[in-house]
Amino acid sequence: MSSGSRRLTPQAVEVIDRANSVGFTFDGRSYSGHPGDSIVSALLASGVTVFSRSYKYHRPRGVLTAGFHDPGCMMQVGDEPNVRGSHRLVEDGMVVSSQNRWPSLRFDVAAANHAVGRFLTAGFYYKTFIKPQPLWPAYEKILSRFAPGGRMSADSVHGRYDHRFAHPDVVVAGGGPAGMLAALAAAEAGATVMLVEEEHALGGHLRYEPSQHKDLATIVGRVAGHPNIEVLTDSVVTGRYDDNWVAICQRNHPGVFERLIKARAKVLVVAAGLVERPYVFAGNDKPGVMLSTAVRRLINLWAVKPGERAVVLTANTTGDAAVEDLERAGVAIAAVVDGRRGHTVVRARGPKTGVKSVELADGSTVEADLVVTAVGWTAPTSLLNMAGDRPRYDPAAARFFACDLPANVLATGGITGDGTLDQLAEHAQAVGREAARRSLTTRRQWQAARPWAASPQPETDDVSPQAIPDLPRHPHPEMFRSTSHGIVDFSEDVSSKDLVAAVAEGFNSIELAKRYTTATMGPTQGKLETVNAVAVVAEAIDRTIEDVGTTVWRPPYAPITLGALGGRSHEPTRYSPMQSWHQANGAKPLVAGQWIRPDHYGDPEAEVRNVRENVGIIDVTPLGKLDLRGPDVSRLLEQVYVNRWAKLGVGGVRYGVMCAEDGVVLDDGVTGRLADDRYLMTTTSSGAGTVWEWVENWLQTEHPDWRVVVTPMTTSYASMNVAGPKVRTLLERIVEDIDLSPDAFGYMNVRQGRIAGVDCFMWRIGFTGELSYEIHVPAGYGLDVWEAILEAGADLGIGAFGVEAQRIMRLEKGHFIVGQDTDGLMQGFSAGIDWLIKLDKDDFAGKPELTWQSQRTGDVRVVALQPVDGTVVPLEASQIVDGSGAIMGRVTSSRMSPTLGRSICLGVVAENLATAGSVVTIRLPDGDLVKARVMEHHAHFDPEGTRLRG
């Protein structure tokens, strides 16, 4: 495979730095190249011509396009799979290996597939391994071993990726002459421009056009010097989404592997040029069969001699130029076959790893190791298609053209037509000016609509649309397939024969043929193969290419890493002001949505006992809090809660439940009246955001006349609940301006005063079932107050408790948790809050459904359950079954109660089982059945509430 150096003497426009060299390995052997070399150019220069094995038949593959989308040049570099070897620059120390071969590139076991090639036709899998059924998994295992591509490693590190937003007036996709000139014209007309080029340098096809070198340098210089233009090279526009949200993958930003730029382009100019189209003929996938642009790139950019003796099939000037390049490079020209005169090649012959001779249409055979084809172009209309355009085929020019573009997308360059370089320049500049005009109009509109923008400049510039001249199309012969069959899709190993067979089997549209053969579904995504596939299908069903149309182009235009798409990990986390204390005191973190909370500090059951016996303190800062002010707050409360609020006096606190309009329990919490027209509503921690928007929705859309102002205050206050028989003793030591005696400050009341020198308000409520005070202080003082309470209560045995202890205690008290003991279908009466729901109120959210529920039987109910054997704690979600095994309910909460020394549960059961004293059967996860009793009260402990009223 190696046959000595193929490096040419210095070429006029080469991009390699001959003064330096870099060393790397390929499949374990050492090679060297120069900075500026791609992996493939360096290997080719060293005589390596085979870079991979094909997907299905495992045929050796070499260079085809010598660009990013070169299907046979995907390689593994270190832990990175599927690296584009014709694009990626070599670096010192790179470890490169070929993919798709076992055990080696030279000896490949799966190449045996090749021998059975004629049976591996389209739809092969669907027709085989049908019987015996049990064997398919075994076949599958073997087949999946042949999956193509590189290898992943579980200990590969994530690496660094990033994102950036951009708001250029104009994004230009493609940095060839057309793109550069359009960018310059737009910039000169006052627009800010982002010019994006997939290759490592600007220039497009002019980069390998020595005769245009000077002109190119001038344009590149002007682009680089223009303050309005930001140039991104080695970057690719991967997609155009609704409202011109343009995705750009930047591969050369320092410090990151890849970066995703999200640009809101006011106008997108697509100047993506043309992709050269391979020719379908027998042997067209052998190493040594290349496109004319590949040859031109290899010789001019990297000074690599692509072969020794060439047959060139040319149907255009690029092919002609390739002949000149080859001659200059000292490659013997065995034959020039002119497609414009109807001549063509039929077959390339030779061993698997290369070409020996070429059979021409006139029957002659020519010795050659290189076959160069220049049979036409594919317009990369992908981005235009994403913008809603349906490109139309022009048989005279033998390619598709854009036609119906939305106003914020323009196209120029090879994708629109040909013309002379002057005509191209004129077109590109007109497009650039028009892009500027449209984008500046949009800019003014957005400035006018956005209250924070600067006032738009008066329109001094000429705002009438710029005429865009037509770009003439050059005639080109339609050359897709020779008289022989060959590969259409090089990534997927799909031949023209497969497509013909698919059509015969009824897959007679391009979409069905695509899916049946997988043509266009590989890494090149149709850039090289779509038009040939369409042409083959058209021929097979005897329709025109225009009729058949193309498949749908979809993002990304070029593949982009998951890392770049994901960017830096931005998953917000929220902490209470007491977080540093929790951390220092061994709290086990509990992830609750964005909140990180203390689950416990080591022993939750001991925490429970301490609260029941002494006094404990818990951080409840995440409780949702809404400050409600205005004369109509009580009307709002009546609207959103199922219970009544009119009579709540200043200083009073009330528990409430909200239902959605379908009657399903939405949230619960207590709301207190702090002043005549000022209330504080608390919500569940997870429901805080939802309830806020829910309340705003009522105010803004149903009752805009009500005067209520809502302020989210969740973390304005550090909130802590201090609970236990000794709490009053404790608080009396550090609370000022509040009379804590039971008569002055009774259960379900709120008072304002000071604690540890800080303004606070506190309410007497009791989720835990103990005498308890919920204290809210301005958040900045939270840590100070928390520590002061702990200090003041040290001799009383105060200890902090976490969420788990609180859950145990609330279960002992039988309080349900919305979303745990209720679910997405459970309506109010099922939750057992009959006493709360006031159907005689005029209106409240969900009232009609709750009215009907109250008139109906057969729903479920939340009940307290105690297993008859108190040592058994049925795992939450254990099912409640009847004698026949049918599901009658489930356990929603269960714990061993440290206070009662037995297991306790809440559960949901069918209504007929919900009567106190009935015994239900719980099926434990291991299948055992245990009995449990339905209790009279939800509260397992102190059902009369004497402790918390104390």
Partner: protein, 90 residues
Amino acid sequence: MLLVPCPWCGPRNASDLRYVGETSRRPDPASVTPAEWRAYLYDHANPAGPTTETWYCRGCRRFFVAERDTVTNVFTSSRPPGRQNPEEPR
């Protein structure tokens, strides 16, 4: 990323807003029949074409009503919610 025209903020990224749904009128709970109420809860015109819908802008914290074509996703207008016209669905 769609640009949604907030009547207060101008065009904003859709991720700055929450889609509430097709704009509908809440029946009078005092007289509503189950069928009417459930139609309000569950039924949607769900047209493939122009529709009237409610959005909530997390920037200015306002609900508003917009007209959009569900096939092209192009917005044609937006306005504050409200009862200016009692016949108009909210």
